[in-house]
Structure formats: C-alpha cells, structure tokens
C-alpha cells in the first residue's frame, strides 16, 4: 500500500513537471537545427542521405539480393537509430546536465525521459521518407502498417528501461559512456537490420531471441516491408522484457538519484 502511494506521489510529481519536460524536449529538438540554413529539413535529409549510402553499398558493392532493399533497410535502420541515439544521449544525461541537477530540484527521471522522447520525435519525423521510399519502389502498403503505434509503444518502454539503467551506471562509472559506442556497434550488427533474419546461421538463431531488440526489428520489417502479421509471441516477449527492464531501471535510478548531485 505504501508503495502504491509512493508511486502515485511520484507520478503526480512528474505530471507537475510536464511543462519542464516539454520545454526540454522542445529545446533538444530545436537546438539541433538552430543556426543551420536548412534547419528542420535536415531531419528529412539526414535519413535520406544515410539511405543513399547504405543502398549504394549493399545494392551495388556488396550485393544483397533482395527486392527493394532500400525499403527493407529503412524500416530497420530508422527505429534502430531512435534506440541507439537515445541510449547514447541518455547515458550521458545526468553528467551532461550537472550544473542543472546540482542547483535546481526537479524529478531527475525527466532527463532520460527527454532523451528517449526527443529521439522518438526525430524517428517520427523521418517516417515521411520511409513512406516516400515505399511509394517510389511501389512496395504495397497493407493494413498491418496500422500496428506501427503498437511497436512504437513497446520500443519506447524497452528503450526507457535500458536508458534508466545506463544513465544510473554512467553517473557513477564514466567508463559506461566509452564502452557504449563499440557495444552499440556490435549490437547493431548482431541485430537483423541490414540483413534479413534468414541470413543468420541456424546455430546462431538463438541470438535473435536473447536480443530483445531483434524481434522488434523483425516486426517492423513484417508490417512495413513484407506486409504481413508480426509474431505476437515475439512482440509479447519484447514487451515483457521491456517492462522488466523499466521496473529494474526505474528502481535503480530512484534509489540512486539523490546521490547524483553529489558525484557529478
């Protein structure tokens, strides 16, 4: 009962600070393009150029024999970009805002939440490019595309769980930030984003299940590229892992957050 009251109090506090949350998200998104001539257009141009490069490499140089490879690549690499950038930013969230957290009281959960949300918005902003690439390549648009919000919600919970854990760890051990770069790169290549799941050798197929991001990426490919129903078992698995990570991450974060101001 006491725990429930505590959770209620904490949620109310977060609601009271929603203006701050929105202000910071706004700051992050607009600060990114402040001072550049093309401004907001970069959020469309950037993924477009990235797609151009990957398509060139994998369709011309290292041939991957798939129809409409660009669309396949896109439906994995965009959500992966959200995931990996959010983790990189969130792991540094407390350290980077040390002047703020040492001087002003606010619920510190806001900071990793801002990183995950900002990158979600950047992901959503790049969706028109995905849609455009589907139209250009005449990839059929199916009703399964309507499942996109479900995948986004699952990914949000999962990303936030990882973000809270990394953010807490990095505040005490700055090595995490350094380790994260190579780790995320390895993770990227272990996840079927640039290659289809079929390309994974039978003996290593189990890796697709150990890695909670893999079923998520496969589901994105199902609803966008293949135009078919994703595996609900795999999605449920992702969601459960996401919730567990979130609970673990939030508990860890909450237990340590009052010492953050002392160590940064």
């Amino acid at each position: 009962m006491a725990l429930l009251i505590k959770i209620k109090d904490k949620s109310l506090e977060l609601i009271r600070y929603r203006e701050m949350f929105m202000g910071l998200v706004n700051r992050e998104i607009r600060a990114r393009y402040k001072g550049s001539a093309l401004g907001f257009l970069w959020s469309l141009l950037n993924p477009l150029m990235m797609m151009g490069i990957y398509s060139l490499i994998f369709s011309v140089y290292m041939r991957i024999d798939m129809p409409n490879y660009a669309v396949f690549l896109f439906c994995g690499i965009l959500p992966w970009g959200w995931f990996s950038t959010a983790l990189t930013n969130a792991s540094a969230a407390i350290v980077a805002n040390s002047s703020l957290i040492k001087k002003i009281y606010f619920p510190l959960e806001v900071l990793p939440l801002v990183n995950v949300t900002t990158n979600l918005i950047n992901f959503l902003l790049s969706l028109p490019i995905l849609l455009l690439s589907m139209l250009v390549t005449q990839t059929p648009i199916t009703p399964f595309l309507l499942l996109l919000p479900v995948l986004v919600v699952i990914q949000f919970v999962l990303t936030l769980g990882f973000a809270l854990i990394l953010c807490t760890l990095n505040t005490f051990y700055r090595d995490v930030e350094q380790l994260l770069g190579p780790l995320i790169m390895a993770w990227f290549y272990m996840t079927p984003v640039i290659y289809p799941a079929a390309a994974v050798p039978e003996k290593l197929k189990f890796l697709l299940l150990v890695n909670p991001v893999a079923p998520l990426m496969l589901s994105y490919q199902d609803i966008i590229y293949h135009g078919r129903m994703p595996s609900l078992t795999m999605l449920a698995y992702c969601l459960v892992v996401g919730i567990v990570l979130f609970v673990v991450g939030y508990t860890l974060f909450y237990r340590k957050k009052f010492t953050f101001a002392e160590v940064v």
Partner: protein, 405 residues
C-alpha cells in the same frame, strides 16, 4: 506548522577525489586494505532547527562550513544521511541564476524554458512575461539569442524569472555577489518586498550588513555544526567576536610568510580610545591603527595607502600619502593611522594597507587587517552622519479666490 523543519540532520560525503570513478579504480579498491579506504566526511553533524512561516532566516558561516549542503537538503537536491528535513510550501531556490539557459535561444525562449525548469506553468509564464522583461530592463534585446548578452544582462534576465515564481519559501544563496551595485540593490529591494508579503526567506550571505538588515533570526554553522541559533543580533555578535579572535591567532603566522626585501608592512594592530589593543572597535569613538613599515628604500621614495573597506566590498575611506610626510627614518618606530572619531555603522571591516614606490601604482607589500565595529547604528548605511530633520515654516500668502465669472 513550521515552514522548514530540520531535525537531527547528518550528512556524509565521500571525499570526491578518492571515490572510484572508473571500473578499474573500483576493482582496485576492492583489494585495498580497509585502512586505505576513503575517510567519510561529515558535512553536517546533528543540526536541528525550525524556520517558522513568514520568518526571514539567515545561515552564516565560513566557506566550507556546510551552508550549501544545508540548502541542498532544504531544496531536496540531496537527502540527509540521517535525520529528517521537512518543507511545507512551494519552494524557490535562487542557488544559481540562469541554470538551464540555452545560449542559442533568444531571451524570450529562455524565459519560457527556464521558467518551466523552475516549475512554472506555461500559463503562469505568459501571465508574468511582460513583468519579467520589464524587471530585467531587456525589452530591446528579448528576441536576441542570450549568447549575445553581456554577463550582466544574463544575470538580470535570470533573476527576473526567478523572482516571479511566487514561492512560499524563498532560498537565496549569495545572490548579491553578482551584478553591479544598482542591480544588487534591486535584488535586495525585491527580497525585502517578499519579506513584507510574509514569505519565508532563507538567506545565505557573507554580507553581514545585508543579513542584519533583512533577517530576524540566524544560525551560525561552522565545520558542519550548529554553533549559534537565535536573534540575528546575538548570532552576529557571537560570530564577529569569534572571527576577530581567530584573525588575531592567525596574524603572526601569516605575517611571517613572504617578506619582501624591498618593503614590508608588518604587525598591524588596532587600539581603542583608551589606548588598549583591541580588534572590536566602538563606532563614534577614537581609533588608532599601528603598523611597522620596513624597506630598503628611503621614505621619500615611498607612498603609503590606507583603505577602510566593509567586508561586503563597500570602501568607506581611502587616502594615499607620501611616506616622507609621516616619517624621516622608518627604523625609528611604528607608524600610526589615527581616526579621532570612527564614524562607521556596526559591521565587519578590514584595513587595507599598501606600500608603493612614490607615484607608482605597483605595490611592494599589501596587508589586510580585519576588525569589527560595534555601534548602535546598524543598517545598510555606511556611516552615521550628523544629520538632523526639521521643517521650514513659511508664512503662506492667502490663496487667490477663484472667481465665478
């Protein structure tokens, strides 16, 4: 119900440099003997007091005494290791102005962002926006990025936002250390306005006159311990006396350091009207400062400058004279600065003595001597001038009658 309750609060820190920052250091530490583990540092030790609703309360103490730790506990930034801190009411802390400003954003955008960070709702910021800008006097610049602001403009905008939060409890930490004199006065006026509105104010400052002027009660914290609690008068008296004695003790040690072969000021002492040596002087009576000057140069090639400065930086007196006017030969004996009537308000001051080559701004030696002044004249003014009030009576000529036509 008190606004702030601090009950048996202990706060422990690990000394920063010894805390493991990396995995390697952490692993290494596992294998170290317990004796070489970092010593815990108690920043606060069993501190208890209540601050009542509507009270203006000062926390004084030297640097590193635990004042800032106490404020962080009150604002909720950290939690006590032991004990309890309770706060009743919306709290606004002016601990650092402009935290969260983004240099690329305009003043207008930063008002909204910073306001949100400080816990204001968008509607509230919109309501106060014009008043915030007017207070900051930045109307022409409000749509320019704050990176183009001078540091003074930056602080003015930040302070204007902070004071519009309309808190129940205002926590102010050394805010008067920034900005020019006019802006400092404006800040102080606003804080006084809060006081008259019956808000609870917790004020931390090294400016004892400002503390005396604003606060009803005070706590003196030294090395994490509460040394005195009570009326501002009593606590400050206690504090200034202790400061004076510790200065006495340190004086000889400090003066022994770094003697300049070309010139030195040594052994500054203060004497009261009866000629006894003392470091608390009485306002309105005579005072004499005695000091020795040693130099390889003859007096006609040297100047001596004296300044009386209040510890909040207000210079109350300054004069520079050729040393030849005072002395023919320095080795004949100590020199004196005689003040027949020390017309200063109560507070802490220092005497700054500088020895320079004649007509040259570079100094050969400079010494500071701290002293306190006791006086019935307490307040932010510098000196009790002999002023009097009166009315000039004027025989009024009869008013011309208003005609009707």
């Amino acid at each position: 119900m008190p606004a702030i309750e601090i009950a048996n609060v202990w706060k422990q820190y690990q000394i920063q440099t010894q805390r493991p920052h990396t995995l390697k250091e952490m692993l290494l530490q596992r294998f170290r003997s317990p004796a070489s583990r970092p010593e815990p540092f108690w920043a606060l030790q069993d501190v208890s007091f209540d601050i009542e609703q509507g009270e203006t309360f000062a926390v004084i103490g030297d640097n590193g005494s635990g004042k800032s730790t106490l404020l962080k506990l009150i604002t909720g930034i950290t939690k006590p290791t032991r004990g309890h801190v309770g706060v009743n009411g919306r709290i606004s802390a002016l601990l650092e102005l402009g935290a969260g400003f983004h240099p690329d954003f305009t003043g207008r955008e930063n008002v909204f962002l910073n306001g949100a960070i400080l816990g204001l709702k968008r509607r509230e910021i919109e309501k106060y926006f014009d008043s915030i800008v007017a207070f900051s006097e930045l109307e022409p610049f409000i749509d320019a990025p704050v990176k183009t602001y001078s540091s003074g403009m930056y602080m003015r905008l930040a302070f204007s936002i902070a004071i519009h939060i309309d808190p129940d409890i205002l926590v102010v930490d050394e805010i008067l250390a920034v900005g020019d004199a006019a802006f400092q006065q404006k800040c102080m006026d606003q804080i006084h306005r809060f006081k008259h509105q019956g808000k609870t104010i917790v004020f931390v400052s090294h400016s004892l006159p400002a503390v005396r002027d604003l606060c009803q009660r005070a706590a003196w914290i030294n090395r994490g311990q509460l040394l005195a609690l009570g009326s501002t008068e009593a606590v400050l008296d206690h504090y200034t006396q202790q400061v004076a004695t510790s200065i006495e003790k340190n004086k000889q040690q400090v003066e022994a350091l770094l003697p300049d072969s070309r010139g030195a000021i040594r052994n500054i002492r203060a004497f009261g009207p009866q000629g006894g040596e003392q470091s608390i002087l009485s306002g309105g009576t005579g005072a004499r400062f005695e000091f020795q000057v040693e130099s390889a140069l003859p007096p006609d090639r040297l100047d001596i400058m004296a300044r009386l400065v209040r510890t909040d930086g207000v210079c109350c007196y300054d004069q520079r004279v050729p040393l030849a006017e005072i002395s023919d030969r320095l080795s004949d004996g100590p020199l004196s600065l005689q003040i027949p009537e020390l017309r200063l308000n109560a507070g802490t001051y220092y005497l700054q003595l500088s020895l320079s080559p004649a007509g040259d701004d570079a100094w050969l030696d400079e010494k500071f001597f701290n002293f306190a002044v006791e006086s019935p004249h307490r307040g932010p003014g510098v000196a009790p001038l002999e002023a009097s009030w009166s009315q000039r009576s004027v025989a009024h000529p009869p008013l011309p009658r208003q005609g009707t036509g």
